[in-house]
């Protein structure tokens, strides 16, 4: 009977089409691999020159910093943590979206992530590199930075494992290594793809080394898939733990505005929020520059905008909770700190933060706006600015006016603070441009896996007919 067969077929969801052009496997390999196989145009070289020049500027300022000491920054007492810590927290936060996309969305079987997980993960790695630089140089005596590691030494002293600053070193260091291993594991099959397409001897040898001799047999895939699942599983708590531990740098102190239990979840939500904004900025650029509209689809971007709307609301909720608790808690210092944030000498920073982080993302309630490429691009940049100011507000306003009015002070960055921050962008974009030049920026094997013809149970593809030759 026709009705019963209709009922039966209605139970099976039709496979969702993620890539509307319905590309063949070969199309996918071709579109992605071609990017790293053909010489880049002038645009890439211009961008690379600018980024690399900024990186050199960064190295120059760092050399001067090592020679002269951190007195060249605008720090004073009481504001002993300035832009360097703001930048550290900001860059670490950006990394979190990459891990969320690659790990949490993988475990949740959100298969739309396949088009953007590779470069979101790369973004994580490069953002964490930029982040790790800041505490490293903030110690002043950089040659003693190895003291954070528990290495037996001639002084007979060990690091203090109770210190949140040490937790931080372990958490962020672990985060970097896990992200690197996860990223490389995902890369192996794709490196094999471009290895097998390589024409020159040099490329064959280099890619042969990096692809580790991948042969794509199911006896290999079996272990590979479990390794990928395990790495996703252990990266998932990292998304939540790393920024929680970063927040304890602040929360375990007794400073008003820092000493709160809301910090870990509040920092994690902010991290994911700013990270998605950065993924958005990079996705839109990569998509436009390399004509990847069929791979990084509007639907994917829209989903990311929805995530930004949600996390932006969480951040806004955290801001209001802080104010509520400052009032409800009845602590005079706490109350003063929050009024001072909104109406004190740093009110300008506070209101930039509120406008960019809470008010602006409300535009994503409207489908028209969240599916408009120019709107989302501009919004993502504003959100990143807002999230930078959030960290600035947290770090600087609390320090600048603590318990004793006689110790209050105002903080302004020097040109070296600004130069190092701009230079960290140079470093980030240099690494990112090298990445898109040499490494497939979309996970080809994962994209192929979600094509409808990849499902062996529902689809026998006519395109894959093999002819005896």
């Amino acid at each position: 009977m026709s009705t019963s067969s209709e009922n039966l077929s209605a139970k099976v969801d039709p496979p969702e089409i993620f890539y509307p052009g319905n590309p063949s496997y070969h199309d996918v390999s071709d579109v992605i691999s071609r990017i790293v196989e053909t010489p880049f145009g002038k645009g890439w070289y211009i961008l690379f020159s600018i980024s690399f020049a900024l990186t050199l500027m960064l190295f120059g300022i760092l050399a001067y910093l090592f020679w002269e000491g951190i007195g060249i920054w605008g720090l004073n007492i009481p504001i002993a943590w300035g832009w360097a810590i703001v930048n550290f927290v900001w860059w670490v936060g950006i990394g979190h979206a990459g891990t969320l996309i690659s790990a949490i969305l993988f475990l949740l079987r959100q298969r739309w992530r396949t088009s953007s997980n590779r470069f979101a993960e790369a973004m994580t790695l490069f953002a964490v590199i930029c982040a790790l630089m800041f505490p490293g140089i903030h110690v002043g005596r950089v040659w003693a930075v190895y003291w954070v590691f528990p290495i037996p030494n001639q002084m007979g002293v060990w690091p203090n494992f109770r210190s949140p600053l040490l937790w931080d070193a372990f958490a962020v260091g672990t985060y970097f290594m896990c992200s690197l291993l996860f990223w490389y594991t995902g890369l192996i099959p794709d490196l094999a793809t471009i290895r097998d397409r390589a024409k020159t001897r040099f490329r064959k040898i280099m890619l042969g080394i990096f692809a580790l001799g991948w042969r794509g047999g199911n006896r290999q895939w079996k272990h590979y898939e479990l390794a990928y699942l395990v790495l996703a599983g252990i990266s998932t708590p990292l998304v939540l733990s790393v920024h929680s531990i970063v927040s304890t740098d602040f929360a375990t102190s007794i400073l008003p505005g820092w000493h709160t239990t809301i910090f870990p979840p509040y920092f994690v939500a902010g991290a994911i929020y700013s990270g998605f904004a950065m993924v958005m900025t990079l996705s839109v650029l990569a998509r436009t520059a390399f004509k990847l509209e069929d791979i990084i689809t509007l639907k994917t971007l829209e989903r990311m905008n929805k995530i930004m709307l949600v996390t932006g609301m969480m951040v806004g909720y955290a801001y209001s909770t802080e104010f509520f608790v400052a009032w409800y808690g009845g602590n005079g210092f706490e109350k003063f700190t929050f009024l001072n944030r909104a109406f004190g000498p740093y009110a300008w920073a506070y209101w930039i933060m509120i406008s960019c982080n809470v008010i602006l993302p409300q535009i994503f309630w409207f489908k028209k706006l969240r599916t408009s490429i120019p709107v989302m691009f501009v919004a993502s940049i504003f959100i990143n600015v807002g999230m930078w100011f959030e960290r600035f507000v947290i770090v600087v306003t609390s320090l600048s006016r603590d318990f004793l009015p006689s110790s209050w002070d105002y903080y302004s960055p020097t040109r070296y603070d600004i130069g190092i921050f701009i230079g960290s962008f140079g470093l980030f974009f240099t690494l990112f441009l090298l990445f898109i030049r040499f490494v497939p920026m979309v996970a080809m094997s994962e994209v192929k896996n979600v094509l409808p013809q990849a499902n062996p149970h529902t689809h026998a593809s006519p395109e894959a007919e093999v002819v005896n030759e």
Partner: protein, 183 residues
């Protein structure tokens, strides 16, 4: 044939191409039914349900990861105790010397780190990678496995290996472009 040659027979692998994931899956089942042991199914991406079709057991990698993570955790518990309570005991804010609650973030980080290395290096070790050179790479056709090719390969150390028989069998289950690759 001398004794040495017999012991160290040069590797010879027969490969056959298949058209789609569904074809490869059917072929995998037929290979298992045919009693072959040293065969593998190559594809550009992992195919869901293939392990069952080939009759493969679950990967032991989970135990390796669990072992590595446990070792990392135990090592870190020992190290924090040794550093803070034994080798250089230092009272900080009146806390007990081995105040383990404060060490939990470090325990967690090292457990995760050790597990991640276990997963990555364990996967490579079980798969016997890196192995940049392999007889299969001598076939240009095989090298499309990473693009859009689906292949079954049978190695000559399979007890049933006999070039004519294997070729006939591969063709009977729908394999195309059967060829033999050697070292």
């Amino acid at each position: 044939m001398s004794k040495q040659q017999a012991a160290k027979r040069p590797v010879e692998i027969m490969i056959a191409q298949f058209g789609s994931t569904a074809d490869l899956m059917t072929a995998a089942k037929k290979m298992r039914e045919g009693g072959y042991e040293k065969y593998d199914c190559h594809s550009p991406f992992p195919i869901h349900g293939m392990d069952k079709a080939m009759g493969l057991r679950r990967s032991p990698l989970g135990y390796i990861v669990g072992l590595c993570g446990t070792c990392g955790l135990l090592f870190m518990i020992w190290l924090t105790w040794y550093a803070s309570a034994y080798d250089y005991p230092l009272v900080i804010s009146g806390k007990p010397l081995f105040s383990w609650q404060a060490y939990v973030p470090v325990f967690f980080a090292i457990t995760v780190l050790a597990s991640a290395f276990g997963a990555f290096l364990g996967m490579l070790a079980i798969n016997r990678l890196p192995r940049p050179n392999h007889p299969l790479f001598n076939s240009d056709r095989f090298c499309t496995f990473s693009d859009d090719g689906f292949f079954v390969s049978v190695e000559n150390d399979d007890p049933q290996y006999d070039p004519q028989k294997v070729r006939a069998y591969l063709e009977s289950i729908g394999g195309k472009n059967v060829e033999i690759v050697t070292e």
